[in-house]
Symmetry: C2
């Protein structure tokens, strides 16, 4: 289909009430310059609707291609948090240019939004909230809401501020609707407002919104002045993004923003995945040199090599289990960072239990497989020790990292794998060398 045809189709569908998110698949086969042309040709409103549904990296490329006027229309039409995110993705010169475009139209809210890191409360908040003074009656508040409704990001919470902008109370639209006319806001507002500091990490923000079942949370500066709000739809995006980040880190798949790993070109994905593989390769060499160090043992009893995979696999598996459960527990707040030590000791008990069970099974299996009871003993004891140590390392390394504020998910990947492999192989060969005379 030509751009012109698609433009026609999209206009028609939007008029018919189709959600713009469902129209994106029509654009899939278009090149980037065709997408720019399309956005350029649609009406102001249609362009803005479609543009807002696109992925961040696409938006950044398209905005670069649009002419000044269309770029400005779209940016001023976007929610301030989305626009700030987008501008933050451009080069410093481009950012400057865009800010000038916007400043002609809107006050400098953007400067505030760009001041905070992208993954902080200040970075994801929107400044389109509703604040009212404390001394007006309910019906006046509702009248004001009716006026502002089309502009604000959400009208379901109304924030009450004093004359210096300090946040002193909150009312839900539900509270307002349920109150009788004439009631003054001050008398019905809730005063223990749950708010977040602008510098707070977005993951913490998500945890708070989830814990208290909020539809939006207010963002304040160090003096408790109201700066903006974060709405629950943005929190959902944060949760998805943070879970994806953690999953990729746990798998050692790379440091990733958004959907880069599923959509980026091959060369980019290779660059993102390669560093972890290099670490893994160095780790493999270190583990190999442990085996090299026991060359004479291995030369005497070549069959010992047969158990290298099971020792490595089992240690690796138990360690990954321990790391993953710990990392996820910290991320969801199920494990309290202040009380990790009881959890750690429980994990060691679990490791030893698993080690005893697996060690017993494997020593019997090894005995029947190779017909040597001493070999069974060596493999069984090694398995017990390897699994116990793997559970210890798998918990301890991410635990220590979280104590010094390194994301534990990063360390649960190839680093821990190497430490587990090396300790497992050393345990195995030390024990095998000690029993060498019985194995011949």
């Amino acid at each position: 289909m030509t751009v012109e045809n698609i433009r026609f189709l999209i206009s028609r569908e939007l008029k018919a009430g189709t959600h713009p998110g469902d129209l994106l698949e029509q654009l899939e086969d278009l090149e980037m310059d065709q997408k720019v042309e399309l956005i350029q040709q649609l009406s102001d409103q249609e362009a803005a609707l479609l543009f807002q549904e696109m992925e961040d990296f696409e938006q950044a490329e398209i905005i670069r291609g649009l002419d000044r006027e269309r770029a400005m229309t779209i940016l001023t039409d976007m929610a301030s948090d989305d626009a700030a995110d987008l501008i933050g993705k451009l080069s410093p010169e481009e950012t400057q240019e865009m800010l000038q475009l916007i400043d002609e139209e809107e006050p400098a809210d953007f400067g505030n939004l760009l001041k905070y890191p992208e993954e902080s409360a200040g970075g994801i908040m929107t400044t389109e909230f509703i604040s009212l003074p404390a001394d007006i009656p309910v019906e006046e508040a509702i009248d004001r809401l009716r006026e502002i409704a089309p502009e604000a990001e959400t009208i379901y919470y109304v924030y009450v501020v004093d004359q210096d902008g300090h946040l002193i109370g909150v009312l839900s639209l539900r509270d307002l609707i349920a109150s009788t006319d004439g009631t003054i806001l001050k008398t019905i507002m809730r005063r223990n407002v749950i708010s977040v500091n602008a510098g707070l990490d977005q993951e913490e923000v998500a945890r708070i919104v989830s814990k208290y079942d909020l539809l939006a949370v207010p963002v304040v500066d160090d003096q408790e002045r109201l700066l903006g709000i974060i709405t629950v739809d943005d929190v959902i995006d944060v949760m998805e993004q943070e879970a994806t980040e953690d999953i990729y880190r746990l798998a050692g798949a790379g440091e990733v923003v958004d959907m880069e790993l599923t959509e980026a070109p091959v060369s980019k994905v290779v660059r993102l995945r390669l560093p972890w593989l290099m670490i893994s390769m160095v780790g493999g060499f270190i583990s190999g040199s442990v085996i090299g160090g026991y060359e004479s043992t291995l030369e005497a009893i070549v069959i010992l090599a047969v158990f290298i995979p099971v020792i490595m696999d089992m240690g690796g598996n138990v360690g990954t289990q321990s790391s993953t459960i710990f990392v996820r527990g910290i991320a969801t707040g199920e494990i309290d960072e202040a009380e990790v030590w009881p959890y750690f000791f429980r994990e060691i008990r679990i490791g030893i239990t698993l080690g005893l069970i697996c060690g017993a099974i494997i020593s019997i299996a090894a005995y029947f497989w190779q017909g040597n009871p001493y070999l069974g003993l060596v493999v069984g004891i090694s398995m017990l020790a390897t699994i116990s140590v793997a559970a210890l390392i798998g918990t301890l390394v991410p635990l220590l990292c979280s104590k010094i504020n390194i994301d534990p998910a990063i360390t649960a990947g190839p680093f821990v794998t190497t430490i587990k492999d090396v300790t497992g192989l050393m345990i195995y060969f030390v024990i095998a060398t000690a029993f060498l005379q019985y194995l011949r």
Copy 2:
């Protein structure tokens, strides 16, 4: 502290406006029967507030311990979806008993809720929604909202149904507030209502709410009759639960519901984690028997064993990366299940590229380490082949599973590890045996 002291503390804090979720830590040191005693002693309202914040498994145990009257007060006070979840956790006899308790008070909404699987739209919906006829004016709608506000789960969406209960339109409270008095609902309601079928999986529900930025989504039966709604706070819980499930499955940490792995007793965790380790152990033996099959090659050149870990680690790592990115992409909807094949072929290109780079590096490293260029060649070619095959297997196995409706996250764990280990080791020893005369 005694139960009596804690009861006093909790009453005071709740009166002071503290969120009940923040009071749970006061209960941490109590035994289960003390918690039952506490809930029994608090006032009706206080007991309900505190109880609702507790974890599912705790709720189930406490409700068993309470006397009939208190149990009934709490259950009827809970949102219908939460109460149904809780009742679903009890034994069939207990469920029957609880339903009788409730039926004395409330109509049989619960029967409906319990009819659907726990992880379906019908299983997580609440029946406390607001529906109105199409032919009333805005001000009447708002008046009705004011009356129902304290009962409903959310008042921010109002659903319009015909006389047979079919869902025909939706209005947000924002639409109502922004409209002038006298406007008839029919003329301003949106007719393309985004709804979900009661049988839909909760993960799909979360994806729809996230995609369209909804605060609630209506649940309908096969005849499009409105049954209930799912609110965004429940969607957030679903997302967290599904992400945790996927992460644990990817790590082979067990089939887990909620926080069992971080809080359950040691014996339970061992039972959950052990099956995956058994699979892993069998996998380790299979990999080991590959090595055993090339015993004569290994006897001739013992130093070949030194490269076993790096071959296993690298194949394992690339395969885990591929599986994880694919599984997460499917879970978040970034990879379209209908168009997986282009993604698959892209992944193979990535695998070959990674294999070429890592193969080149490792062949040089192996040459310098062991001083034999042929050994470098053998290890390098093995690495290229192992990595390419690992990327293929790491994507293909979960891909095929998703086609036949098995959760791909399950297969990304120990099964894929074994297949990757076996193929990697076979490739390595086949090539080494072929080059054997040059390696001596």
